[in-house]
């Protein structure tokens, strides 16, 4: 698991994220394809589980620290750690150094890991220098910025830049694209009425955009938004941006049934 000094191709550890693992593996495979197409070598360590956010944001600092240490041990041998999620990448990049600041053994390792951890689209654009992907998606889409991508990692342009190169794709920005979808992890089930009111407003803005497909970089937001759109009978489909960029859109959209036959 070390970089071969002879090759320039960086070794990326894919942080699959627990939601992608459980709900939508196709996003993970799309991420692998995008990274490989851009010249990276990709490995997916099997000992990974979750970045620890459910514990961290519930106030369970001890379990959050234990999981952070495990992630560091699993991934510190890679040149880069990439996640198809702003939320999980933000946890590694922004929160691990804080969480482990008072742990003398792990504080420097947390900082080192933070420096080489990235969200997928920003890694493709900013580190690997990708400016165009080979993909076709002849659909009018709108893009939802996850709060962690937008505010924690300042990732706003990278997904849009890559989408601009997708053949046939048109991007119609919705109003209030900087506003949260109301997911917030456990928030969406601890305070369901409030989360629902927030995602209802988001669903209205999506409808107003006129797009046929909603894309985002975080599966948490996507499950929440797709769940709302499905409940209100909207025909807008939801996909992770990586699936579109990798040209892997044959799987049914999030929350949609497999096509008969």
């Amino acid at each position: 698991m070390t970089t071969d000094a002879a090759t320039k191709s960086p070794l990326v550890g894919l942080f699959v994220t627990c939601l992608v693992d459980l709900f939508r593996p196709s996003i993970g495979f799309a991420a692998i394809k995008l990274l490989k197409d851009a010249g990276a070598r990709v490995e997916v360590p099997e000992s990974q589980t979750c970045c620890g956010q459910p514990a961290y944001n519930s106030g369970d600092r001890a379990d959050a620290k234990a999981l952070a240490r495990a992630v560091i041990e699993t991934f510190e041998g890679f040149d880069y750690v990439v996640a198809p999620s702003g939320s999980c990448a933000g946890m590694l990049k922004v929160h691990y150094p804080d969480l482990l600041a008072d742990d003398p053994a792990f504080a420097p390792r947390a900082r080192t890991l933070a420096d080489k951890s990235f969200e997928l689209t920003s890694f493709l654009v900013e580190v690997l220098g990708v400016d165009r992907v080979e993909a076709r998606f002849g659909v009018n889409v709108t893009y939802h910025d996850s709060c962690s991508n937008l505010r924690e990692l300042k990732v706003r342009d990278a997904p849009r830049r890559l989408l601009a190169g997708v053949d046939g794709l048109a991007l119609s920005e919705m109003e209030e694209t900087e506003v949260c979808c109301g997911f917030g992890g456990a928030f969406s089930i601890k305070y369901p009425d409030i989360a629902n009111a927030i995602v209802e407003a988001k669903a209205r803005n999506i409808a107003k955009s006129g797009a046929a497909c909603l894309l985002a970089g975080d599966l948490g937001c996507l499950l929440h938004i797709a769940g709302k759109l499905s409940r209100v009978g909207s025909s807008v489909e939801c996909r992770h941006v990586a699936e579109v960029l990798a040209g892997m859109t044959e799987a049914p959209a999030i929350g949609q049934a497999r096509k008969a036959g």
Partner: protein, 473 residues
């Protein structure tokens, strides 16, 4: 505050269509106007850094600046009273009012006076209290607490306010026109003008206290602060200790951010500096000037991990930009201080036992921190409250249990993947030909209002191992 009461209030607020329409004012008004004001000021972010540094510096040397401030107030002929608790502050103000023989007190808008329950205390002693900020006047005649720290009645529409005026403004003709905002403002102005003139004591808060000059600063858009300060014979300023800044220059830095962040104005219509009582030869002004400095838990906050909260300048930007506040409004928080700033400050002032929902009811979207003019890391501070709440066993047992079971598995990758690769295909089969669950046993918290997209079929790790074995990956 019990769990049920926050959720019940939130649910009531969400179900109230009229209230929901009024809440849109926050979005249409404040958010758009702040963005415009900020974009016209290229040095906004630099000012933000400066303001943050000013507040941090002051807080680090608060004892020295408080002493310097007191010296200057005394030099200018005023007096400073330190009030460790809300009760102390109430009795100091009441004593000052009694000594002045007060029957009528006018008040400028003051969150600190709300915090200590001043009005009820004075009224119980037979003193009439007249709120003079239009929003506070409306709150007062409705017998309601403000629902927003700078826009007390943002949750009301003008028809409701007209009804309140008809009901409480005595001696005016029934059937008078109150259909427009102008009608309402004109009537309030006439009613309040009589109070300004008759008042014995004027009580204001302070947006800032300046150590260099011993001045208190009040910003308003109605001029009611000026009339409250200058017409009565006694002016009492009631402010909490963290309102202090070292110099006039520092005050101006904060003022440049305050209105832009709150209402989106470059500056409020009135910015009133008061320094001591009227001097010999001054055409007007109070004969006495007293400052009541409230601690009420601030010293403890100052010494702990929530210190950054004391930078707050009460602009209201975090409320305006919070999706939770935007959904449920201020009253549901059950605290004078709602929204993100209230979610951090309320437990610090009253204890986490009384406010555990407030820091928990956030999606951590981070917009509050982004718009805060003094860069308070509000989500991080809310998370610290969650940690304290978790340590004391605050979350419901079921939540703690689920979290512990999940953590148990997540810390054991083999077990975790075994569970995942067993459960996921089971769930995927359960949903059969449909792609989402409309309901799930034990899942109603989600499926009550949203479908749950079903898993695709197998876990990523299971599929990845299969591919590796077949040599595809």
């Amino acid at each position: 505050m019990a769990d049920a009461s926050f959720k019940d209030s939130a649910a009531r607020a969400l179900a109230d269509a009229k209230f929901q329409r009024a809440l849109l004012n926050v979005k249409r008004g404040f958010i758009v106007k702040r963005a415009a004001a900020k974009s016209k000021l290229p040095e906004f972010d630099q000012l933000r850094d400066e303001a943050r540094a000013i507040k941090d510096h002051t807080l680090a040397h608060l004892d020295l600046y408080l002493e310097a401030y007191e010296r200057k107030v005394v030099e200018s002929g005023g007096e400073v009273h330190f009030a460790p608790t809300a009760a102390d502050a109430r009795s100091i103000v009441l004593r000052l009012c009694r000594d002045a023989g007060a029957r009528l007190v006018t008040k400028g808008k003051s969150m600190v006076s709300e915090e200590i329950g001043l009005n009820a205390h004075l009224e119980a002693a037979g003193i009439e209290v007249a709120e003079t900020d239009l929003g506070e006047h409306i709150s007062q005649i409705r017998g309601e607490a403000p629902s927003h720290i700078i826009a007390p009645v943002i949750h009301l529409n003008k028809e409701e306010i007209a009804e309140d005026f008809v009901r409480t403004h005595r001696g005016l003709p029934q059937g008078r026109p109150l259909g427009t905002v102008q009608d309402l403002v004109a009537e309030a102005r006439a009613v309040l003008r009589a109070k300004f003139i008759a008042a014995d004591v004027g009580i204001t808060g302070a947006n800032l206290l300046i150590a260099e000059t011993g001045s208190s600063v009040v910003v308003t858009n109605e001029g009611n602060g000026d009339l409250t300060e200058t017409l009565p014979r006694l002016h009492i300023v009631i402010a909490s200790i963290e309102k202090l800044v070292p110099t006039l220059e520092d005050a101006c830095t904060v003022l440049r951010l305050l209105a832009r962040s709150g209402t989106g104005q470059d500056i409020t219509t009135y910015t009133t500096f008061a320094t001591g009582p009227a001097r010999v030869g001054d055409p007007d002004g109070p004969r006495q000037y007293h400052v009541v400095l409230l601690d009420n838990g601030r010293s403890e906050i100052l010494g702990g991990e929530f210190r950054a909260m004391l930078r707050c300048i009460r602009c209201g930007a975090c409320l305006n930009h919070c999706p939770v506040y935007g959904a449920i409004g201020g009253h549901a928080y059950g605290s004078l201080y709602p929204g993100p700033m209230g979610a951090v400050l309320t437990p610090a002032l009253y204890g986490i036992d009384h406010a555990r929902d407030l820091p928990n009811a956030s999606s951590f979207c981070g917009r509050c921190e982004e718009v805060c003019p003094v860069a308070i890391p509000l989500p991080s501070l809310m998370r610290k409250w969650r940690e304290r709440d978790f340590e004391r066993g605050g979350p419901p047992l079921a939540q703690r249990l689920v979290l512990k079971l999940w953590a148990l598995a997540a810390k054991r990758p083999r077990l975790y993947h075994a569970l995942g690769s067993g459960l996921v295909p089971f769930l995927a089969r359960l949903v059969k030909s449909r792609g989402s669950f409309r309901s799930l046993p034990f899942g109603s918290a989600w499926t009550g209002t949203r479908d749950l997209p079903a898993p695709q079929g197998k876990t990523f790790h299971a599929l990845y191992q299969e591919q590796k074995r077949s040599g595809q990956s």
